[in-house]
């Protein structure tokens, strides 16, 4: 068993039109820039994949990564908690023009829905959003005298994830707060594709320090000097080049 794949194009080859794609990261921390850009490359070359539903905490920043994916016209719907950033112009313009759908989910509920999807829990109750506009239409139930909102799991066809170290079994570690949604999305997708800073042999990660066990991972690709969304945006980068 070797889950390592040799190049980014192969890594993202499983994403097809209309799929739901989870993309890890919180802002720029843990955002799998190279995987996203490889997907844009495929779209520019072939016209596919398109009409994607993307699940991410945010809606992209500037003109790289998720923002570039949206700008390329590949995204039909976004499920996120906070579609604002330093430079959210790409999403904002499409949204205000009615050209992209938005499902707004409180951040903790988003995390728990993804974890539920990975854990085989089809629905759960949370106090979050009770009595607010974001609970409209959702079932409500009382437990021990307190009202709660019923939320459903979230699953995806593919998850694009950024981790730090991976082995050929797909065991992963992360770097600092880049763990965020990445570790959850690994659990909730039919195919989890991970870019790592380095691939080590099986046994190269202490089993005590594995954060994502390999069972949740299908493909691992090494991107040795991964770009950081924040650095790219501070340099006013635009993908795939001149806008």
């Amino acid at each position: 068993m070797d889950k390592a794949v040799g190049d980014l194009a192969t890594a993202v080859a499983g994403i097809a039109d209309g799929m739901t794609v989870m993309i890890g990261g919180f802002g720029g921390a843990g955002s799998p820039i190279e995987l996203i850009h490889a997907l844009i490359d495929r779209f520019l070359a072939t016209g596919h994949p398109r009409d994607l539903t993307v699940i991410n905490n945010n809606a992209g920043n500037g003109h790289v990564g998720l923002a570039a994916l949206i700008e390329a016209g590949m995204v039909k719907k976004l499920i996120c908690s906070f579609p604002r950033s330093a430079d959210p112009v790409v999403f904002t313009e499409l949204y205000l023009a009615g050209k992209i759908e938005l499902e707004l989910v409180p951040q903790g509920t988003l995390a728990e829905r993804i974890r539920a999807g990975g854990a085989g829990i089809p629905a759960f109750y949370t106090p979050t959003s009770y009595g607010t506009d974001l609970a409209k239409g959702k079932p409500v139930a009382e437990f021990d005298g307190r009202p709660y909102v019923q939320e459903r799991w979230l699953k995806a066809d593919v998850a694009l994830v950024k981790a730090e170290t991976g082995d050929r079994h797909g065991n992963l570690t992360y770097r600092a707060a880049a763990r965020n949604f990445n570790a959850l999305m690994c659990m909730a997708a039919t195919e989890t594709v991970v870019q790592v800073s380095r691939i080590v042999p099986a046994g190269g990660i202490d089993p005590e320090t594995v954060i994502t066990p390999g069972i949740f991972v299908q493909k691992v690709v090494e991107v040795a000097n991964a770009q950081q969304e924040e650095d790219l945006n501070r340099a006013n980068a635009v993908y795939p080049g001149v806008a």
Partner: protein, 228 residues
């Protein structure tokens, strides 16, 4: 009702200072993005609070020197932070387990409006533009104390403390204490209960810029804050 307040009021730094005085040694604290982040600067000497950020860090410290940022080490406001000894990383589900599960001692949040029944509106000013909620709706549930820091009135002088919120709610009956530019007010039994006010301000003056009745159930202390 657009009277402009002619009396002195606390600066944001001073409101943050006052809120910081109520954070006990060893408390686990989440500070909302923006204004509430200032509270961390005013921890009383000898007390050690542990700060939590939704994106998966416990016990982070202040911002690094410019140029030394690590953009994988950020807070919920996406600002670079540093680590203190005894920190921990975790994923978003564990992070919100801490929030929702009642493990935080206090969450300190900003507000557009607070109602006397504890309702809070701090995420949306209405249907215009792109809506964004982040962790606001989670933070109002679970923390043992949910405190708000805010100017007492809006920029054009309207009360932010109201009988009922008019803006979209963040949470129902969730706020337990409000630190404003004029007063410290608890929410108890569906009422605003005045605890402290600026000594230069009469109760009547304070009531005039408050959108619901201020109850006085015990001594009202002077709200005294250092120059900052």
């Amino acid at each position: 009702m657009t009277l402009v307040l002619a009396i002195p009021k606390l600066t944001n730094n001073q409101i943050a200072w006052r809120a910081a005085q109520d954070i006990q040694d060893g408390a686990y604290v989440n500070l909302g993005i923006g204004f509430p982040e200032k509270v961390a600067q005013y921890q009383p000497p000898g007390r050690e609070a542990i700060f939590h950020t939704e994106n998966g860090i416990l016990n982070f410290g202040e911002a690094p020197q410019q140029g030394e940022e690590d953009w994988d080490l950020i807070n919920a406001g996406k600002k670079a932070v540093t680590l203190k000894p005894g920190s921990a990383f975790f994923h978003h589900a564990d992070s919100f387990a801490m929030v929702r599960g009642g493990h935080l001692d206090v969450a300190i949040l900003g507000a557009y409006e607070v109602a006397e029944n504890g309702d809070l509106a701090n995420w949306s000013t209405g249907p215009k533009g792109v809506p964004a909620v982040g962790g606001a709706m989670d933070l109002v549930h679970g923390a043992k104390r949910v405190a708000v820091i805010t100017d007492h009135v809006t920029k054009d002088g309207k009360p932010k403390l109201l009988k009922r919120c008019t803006l979209p709610l963040t949470g129902v009956a969730c706020v337990t204490r409000v630190y404003t530019s004029l007063a410290v007010i608890d929410i108890e039994g569906g009422h605003f209960v005045l605890r402290e006010k600026l000594p230069s301000l009469s109760l009547e003056e304070l009531q005039a810029v408050t959108g619901a009745e201020l109850h006085v159930t015990g001594p009202v202390a002077d709200l005294i804050v250092p120059e900052l």
